[in-house]
Amino acid sequence: MGNSSSSGRRNSHILSQSPGHPPPPRMYPAPHRYPGGHAPPPGPGMYPPNVRYYSYHHYNGLIPPSQFYSQNFIQSNGQFMINLPPPQLYSQPGGMPSHPVSQPPRPLEVVEHQRASTIQNTVNLKKATLRLEKDEENRGSYLVSFSFDATAAGSICIFFLAEEGADCSLSPVKPDAYTPLRSEFEKGLGQKFRQAPGTGVKFSKFGEKELLKGGEHYVFPLVIRMETLPKSPPADEPPRESLPLGAPLPDWVHAQITQATIEKKDDDSYQVRVVKQILWISGLRYELQEIYGIDNSGIGGNFDGTVAGKACVVCMSEPRDTTVLPCRHMCMCSECAKVLRFQTNRCPVCRTPVEKLLEIKVPKRGSELGGAAESSSSQSGAATAKDLIGDCDKVEHIDPKSILVQASDGTSKS
């Protein structure tokens, strides 16, 4: 841990040891009165109690008091606020401001704070449930299985080694190796899908090396596209069934695409890892991204204020409802987030520079959906995709476990 500290310490060290500055003890002229006057007597082996230890790196005795004060100004919402020292704590003779100037003022970029708005998603593959199972009726072949929620009937298409193109179209890289599969599903939460035995896919036909390669250039070893029709198609459109599997999606189709890589394990079984989930809604493509810490948030209405892990990391009192972007740490309540952005531009959890703060208020779910979803899976809520902030091309939230990032070019293909 000592090593991880180096950069900052180097910095403060330089400050405190600047040539020409007197050594610290002489810099702190006023005797420091401990709060409550209970300073320990300087016994043997104790440092003298009259050290203003708290401001040594920032106050070198050379800054005139007026400037010192000015560093205590904070601009907030266009208003100037002043941080005055708590007079009861460190009263000083001589009127030197004793309040610690904790950080030198830094240029603060005001970060956008936005509220999430909601979009409706009709189908959600639960990515943790995606598996490749051995096809018992077909040696060397594998079957796809997963659980999903759907608030409308629709169809599932499964592709191996397929490339994503414009409007979420999917084309097999090796069309000779297999025929994409299609099957129908009904509306319902917590459904299970398992490919029929005997229809498994032989991986040997692909050349294992190619199949196990990670997702590159929009080619993924396993791609599942789930479509629903939230409204009836325009009369002049050909029926979906007549089009080839993987055809570009029109804007009246609603879809979720799950892209995964395949890894071989020691026991010759295969493990699937979901890399990306994409939503196609009203002709726009969104990438679904997980929010870290949302399991511990107050979202879902189960915050009772007692579990430490669920509270805002700053006030430790209010439920978390604000996600830091781009790092996606849901770690604060909206009030603290508003304060934070005038103090620092870094995420409290990972110190990534903050570009945006996304507040996610999820209305309590209706009893019908919420109840059913909760009984079917902890993820629930497939139907309540959340969010949309700002104008466009930005960030959305869904599920409510993740946010959606809309690809800037719609097709995502260069």
């Binding site: 000592g2 310490r9 610690p100 904790s102 990391v313």
Partner: protein
């Protein structure tokens, strides 16, 4: 404003942290608030085993400034200690107390970091120049001095 008024305005976070520090103290660390000022803590850290500070009981003071948790706590050793990152006034050179502070850190995590700093002195980034030099030129002897200081000043008396 009296101390009592200040204490009644104590943010909930500080109250919660204090409660947890008292009810579930971290191993080898104790921190208790002063009665007069609940932002001032008396801290004791046991020297980590397999460090030159093993067997020592080190007293520190910790103060939560008004801006806390947006600003770091102010911490200082009261017990004399021979360590390249702690100067003769007990001030500690630790990045999380400076520019690497984050409001997600807490009193507990700060004290654990200080405990870790005792286990891993970093003479390449010194606060106490002489001690760091000693550490780099003759580590064995420096460690021995640290042991000696621990016996002399931090024997828990």
């Amino acid at each position: 404003m009296s101390a009592a008024t200040a204490n009644t305005n104590l943010p909930r976070r500080i109250i919660k942290e204090t409660q947890r520090l008292l009810s579930e103290p971290a191993p080898g660390i104790s921190a208790s608030p002063s009665e007069e000022n609940l932002r001032y803590f008396n801290v004791m850290i046991l020297g980590p085993s397999q460090s030159p500070y093993e067997g020592g009981v080190f007293k520190l003071e910790l103060f939560l400034p008004e801006e806390y948790p947006m600003a770091a706590p102010k911490v200082r050793f009261l017990t004399k200690i021979y360590h390249p990152n702690i100067d003769k006034l007990g001030r500690i050179c630790l990045d999380i107390l400076k520019d690497k502070w984050s409001p997600a850190l807490q009193i507990r995590t700060v004290l654990l970091s200080i405990q870790a700093l005792l286990s891993a002195p970093n003479p390449d980034d010194p606060l106490a120049e002489n001690i760091a030099k000693h550490w780099k030129t003759n580590e064995q002897e420096a460690v021995e001095t640290a042991r000696e200081w621990t016996r002399l000043y931090a024997s828990g008396a």
